[in-house]
C-alpha cells in the first residue's frame, strides 16, 4: 500500500488546514517519518506529487531542517544537547557516559540497531540540563544513575518513566521534586 493510501484520512485532514497546499509539506514529511523512522526517497516523491511540487522542491526543503532523518536511525535515537547552557552543567560528561555505555559516538548506531546517537543544539530545557531527547521524549537533569536506568528501561520495555511530563521548573512549593534551597 502506498503512503497516500495508508494515511488517506490523515493526509486529507492535514491538507484541510492550509489555503496553500505547500504548507502541508512539513506535516506530511513528519507523517512519512513516523511511518518509517526516516523519510525515504520514495516517500518524498509521493509527497511531491500530492502537493503538486517537483521532487527537488521537496528535497531542498527537507534538507534545511535537522529533525528529518534521510537515513535510517536507531529504534531509540538519542540527541544530546551540547549548547553552552547544558555544557555549563555537564553535557560533555553525559556524552562521554553514553559513548562508553553504548560504544558509539555521534553519528553512529549500535550494531543491533537499537540506539543511535547525535549531538544537537539547544532544546529549550536550559534550566534542567544536562538533558537529552530520545525519539519524542525529553529526559532532563541527567545523572549517570538516571542514564543507566533510562537505557535499561528502553532496552527492556521500550519506554521509560523518567521521561519529562508537562514542564515546570522549579516545581511549586510542596512538590517532592523541588530542589532544596
Amino acid at each position: 500500500m502506498t503512503f497516500s493510501e495508508k494515511y488517506k484520512d490523515e493526509i486529507a485532514d492535514i491538507l484541510s488546514r492550509y489555503p496553500v497546499k505547500r504548507s502541508a509539506l512539513i506535516p506530511l514529511l513528519y507523517l512519512a517519518q513516523r511511518d518509517h523512522g526516516h523519510v525515504s526517497e520514495a516517500a518524498m516523491k509521493e509527497i511531491a506529487q500530492l502537493l503538486g511540487l517537483t521532487p527537488p522542491q521537496v528535497y531542498e526543503t527537507i534538507t534545511f531542517y535537522t529533525l528529518f532523518n534521510l537515513k535510517p536511525v536507531g529504534t531509540f535515537h538519542i540527541q544530546v544537547c551540547r549548547s553552552l547552557m547544558c555544557a555549563l552543567v555537564g553535557s560533555d560528561t553525559v556524552l562521554e557516559w553514553i559513548k562508553v555505555k553504548l560504544g558509539i559516538g555521534p553519528g553512529e548506531s549500535t550494531a543491533d540497531g537499537l540506539f543511535s546517537l547525535c549531538l544537537v543544539e539547544c532544546l529549550a530545557a536550559c534550566g534542567t540540563g544536562p538533558m537529552m531527547q530520545i525519539n519524542d521524549d525529553y529526559y532532563e537533569r541527567l545523572t549517570e544513575e538516571k542514564l543507566d536506568r533510562i537505557l535499561y528501561d528502553l532496552r527492556s520495555t521500550g519506554t521509560s518513566a523518567l521521561k519529562s511530563g508537562p514542564f515546570m521548573w522549579p516545581e511549586p512549593v510542596g512538590s517532592a521534586d523541588r530542589p532544596s534551597s
Partner: protein, 434 residues
C-alpha cells in the same frame, strides 16, 4: 513566596492545577473572551493593548498594540495570526512551560488577538522537538472548540477563529518572524528582506501578525483588568508588566521566575534563583539569551527592563539569563555559543554564512592554543563586517558572544595566544640553497 503578584504563572503555581479547560475556567479563564468578543470594538481592543504598554516577549520588544495597528484598515481579504512558539534561543525555556502547564491562557490570548486584528485563522508555529507540548496544545484546542471558544460562531457572536498547531522541524532561524512565515509556507526557513513587513505582506502575502507565546498569554489579563493596571506594573512607561525570566547555569535553583520588569539582576539571581551553586563567585552572566552580549557582576544592579539592559551594552532579549561562575573559560563559553550560531546560520547572506565559519575556525584555533595575536584583530574585524550587514538580526546576534567576551575578558584570549607563542619557540627561517 514572591513579593509581587504573579500574572502568567499564577494558575500553574496552584497545587493540583492541570491546565485543563475546567481548571482554567475556575480561575476566571475565558471571561476576557466572553466580555470582549462582540462587545468591545476590535479597534478598542488594540487601543487597550497599546495603552497597556505591552511589548513583545520574544526578543525584540516591539510594542504589541502598535504592531497590530500596522495592519491595513481597508483590506478585506484574509488576515493571519501566527503564534511564535519556536522557542529556540539558548537560555530560554519559558514558552514551553506556559504552553504545557496553562495552554488555555495562551489560546484565549490567541482568539483575542485574532478578534482585534480581524483574523479567522491562527497558526501556532511550535518548535518541532516539543512533541509533548504539541499534543497538549492540540488537546486544549479540541477542548476549547467543544466548549465554543474556538471555531465557527464563537459563543454565538458570529465570530470565527480556527487555530492549528504547526510543528517546525529544527531550525533556530524559524523564530525570526519572516523565516517562520517561509517555513509555514512549506519552504526553507530563509528570512525575507523587509520591507514589506508581515503586517502588509505576511503569510501567503496576506496581512499577518506574529506574536510570541508570552505576549499572547498576557492579553486575557490586560483585557480583564485594564490597560492602566498593566501599565502600573514593572518599570513604566516603557517596560510594563511582568516577565518570565529563565535562569540557567551555575545557580542553586535554575528555572522560570516571573518578576515585574525593572527588578535587578541581583534580585533575580540571588533571591529567586538562590544565588550561586557553590562558594565560587559569579564571573559573568548573559542577560537575554545567546544573542545578548555577556555582562559582568559589575552589572548586577542593572534593572531588568528593555532600556536599562540596552544602556549597559547588552539586551533584555528573550529573558534567558545564564550565569557562569569563576573558573569558567570565557573563550570556551563564547566558542560554544559561536558553534551554535555557525550550526544555525541559514546561509542566505554571505557575511553571516561565511563569517560564522571564519569566526568558529578562528575561535577553535585560539582555544586549541594555536592562535596568533593577529587573530584578535581578525575576530573584531569579522564581527564588524557581519553585524548589521545581513537580512535579519541573526548577524548581530552571532557576534554578540565574541564582542562581549573580547570587551571584558580580552586577557583570556591573550593568555591562550601567549601559550601558543611560547610553544612555537622559533619559526624556522627559509634556508638559502645555493
Amino acid at each position: 513566596m514572591p513579593k509581587h503578584e504573579l500574572i502568567l504563572l499564577k494558575n500553574m503555581m496552584q497545587p493540583g492545577y492541570t491546565g485543563s479547560l475546567p481548571d482554567y475556567e475556575k480561575t476566571g479563564g475565558y471571561q476576557a473572551l466572553r466580555a470582549t468578543l462582540g462587545k468591545t470594538a476590535p479597534a478598542d481592543v488594540t487601543a487597550t493593548v497599546r495603552k497597556s504598554g505591552l511589548r513583545g516577549r520574544g526578543g525584540a520588544g516591539f510594542p504589541t498594540g502598535v504592531k497590530w495597528g500596522f495592519l491595513p484598515k481597508d483590506y478585506h481579504g484574509p488576515r493571519y495570526l501566527c503564534c511564535n512558539a519556536d522557542e529556540s534561543e539558548p537560555g530560554t525555556f519559558k514558552d514551553r512551560q506556559l504552553m504545557e502547564r496553562d495552554p488555555h491562557q495562551m489560546l484565549e490570548g490567541i482568539v483575542l488577538a485574532c478578534y482585534a486584528i480581524g483574523a479567522e485563522s491562527a497558526y501556532i508555529y511550535i518548535r518541532g522537538e516539543l512533541v509533548l507540548c504539541s499534543k497538549i496544545l492540540e488537546r486544549a484546542i479540541d477542548e476549547a472548540r467543544t466548549a465554543g471558544y474556538i471555531g465557527k460562531n464563537i459563543l454565538g457572536t458570529g465570530i470565527n477563529v480556527e487555530v492549528w498547531v504547526h510543528r517546525g522541524a529544527g531550525a533556530y532561524i524559524c523564530g525570526e518572524e519572516t523565516a517562520l512565515l517561509e517555513s509555514l509556507e512549506g519552504k526553507r526557513g530563509l528570512p525575507r528582506i523587509k520591507p514589506p513587513f508581515p503586517a502588509t505582506h505576511g503569510l501567503y502575502n496576506k496581512p499577518t501578525v506574529v506574536n510570541n507565546v508570552e505576549t499572547l498569554a498576557n492579553l486575557p489579563h490586560i483585557l480583564t483588568r485594564g490597560a492602566d493596571w498593566f501599565a502600573s506594573i514593572g518599570s513604566p512607561p516603557r517596560s510594563t508588566g511582568t516577565r518570565v525570566f529563565c535562569v540557567s547555569g551555575h545557580v542553586k535553583r535554575p528555572g522560570n521566575y516571573e518578576v515585574p520588569m525593572g527588578v535587578t539582576f541581583r534580585e533575580l539571581v540571588y533571591e529567586h534563583a538562590g544565588g550561586m551553586r557553590s562558594d565560587k563567585p559569579m564571573k559573568a552572566f548573559i542577560p537575554g539569551g545567546a544573542s545578548a552580549p555577556f555582562l559582568t557582576p559589575a552589572h548586577l544592579d542593572v534593572k531588568l527592563d528593555f532600556e536599562s539592559v540596552a544602556a549597559a551594552g547588552s539586551m533584555l532579549g528573550s529573558g534567558g539569563v545564564t550565569v557562569m561562575e569563576e573558573g569558567t573559560s570565557m573563550v570556551w563559553a563564547a566558542l560554544r555559543l559561536m558553534e551554535f550560531f555557525y550550526h544555525e546560520s541559514c546561509g542566505k547572506c554571505s557575511p553571516c554564512r561565511e563569517g560564522s565559519s571564519w569566526l568558529v575556525q578562528t575561535m577553535r584555533r585560539i582555544m586549541a592554543k594555536r592562535g596568533r595575536m593577529e587573530d584578535l584583530e581578525t575576530l573584531s574585524d569579522l564581527c564588524k563586517n557581519i553585524a548589521g550587514r545581513t537580512v535579519c538580526a541573526f548577524g548581530d546576534a552571532e557576534v554578540a558572544p565574541i564582542q562581549g567576551t573580547l570587551k571584558y575578558w580580552r586577557e583570556e584570549y591573550v593568555a591562550l595566544i601567549r601559550e601558543a607563542e611560547a610553544a612555537n619557540l622559533v619559526m624556522p627561517e627559509p634556508v638559502a640553497r645555493g
